[in-house]
Symmetry: C2
Subunit: 147 residues, 2 copies
Amino acid sequence: MTAKRDGCVLCETSGGRLVFEAPQFRVIHAEEAGFPAFYRVIWQSHAAEFSDLSSAERAVCMEAVAIVEQCLRAHVSPAKINLAALGNMVAHLHWHVIARFDWDTRFPAPVWATAQRDRDAGREAGVAAALPAAEAAMIAALSKRTS
Amino acid sequence: MTAKRDGCVLCETSGGRLVFEAPQFRVIHAEEAGFPAFYRVIWQSHAAEFSDLSSAERAVCMEAVAIVEQCLRAHVSPAKINLAALGNMVAHLHWHVIARFDWDTRFPAPVWATAQRDRDAGREAGVAAALPAAEAAMIAALSKRTS
């Protein structure tokens, strides 16, 4: 079920702290400085582009993205959720699911833009403190979906 | 079917050159300097977040995104497709579908990062010349889906 490609970092490593794993996808927490609630939904098989998946696989993938998004909305109350599948550096399908806050270093610009303010360690810690509950909700909802 | 919000630019304007319109979404070509094959799939009703849509609506939305992606892959042979729903500035669900090339001003960084090389007018024109055929393919595939 999971076709691997030699030399692909997302075929050979988890890509971050594993939160949930299903046969077709996994959810990881990414360590991205200044963005405490940054998750990725990574397709298990090596696929470069979203349209390399079948329609049914795309639905599985995006329902996982939606669940991660919903749990972040419920538990960390972001100003906005940002979703992206870029893959210019690592062409193995992974969806960034990022909770954005009006006090984060780039808001309202994308996280890949130049910083426009300093980090707020106190607020970042507040978000981080809510992640265990957010992740418990993700695991519960994703388990129900994939069982 | 299409709930509008006063003052929302994507409720009140097309948001770009209209390529295709269905009851639930529209596809536009965006004028973004240096990125000739930059499209957006815009949800017709005002919804801020992807997870504000129902599961069935998300499937409709993402199959439209996949069709735009497939037609760009077939007609402009990009190095990579980039997909993103950010909405920090305009919180009305819209998916960026961007054909990226190894010669574009930001590659392999996201289009929102700092430019790392000059524009290549000749290559941009070559991509632009392929867009009518790409858009005809989008219209044909999207019409079949939504008829």
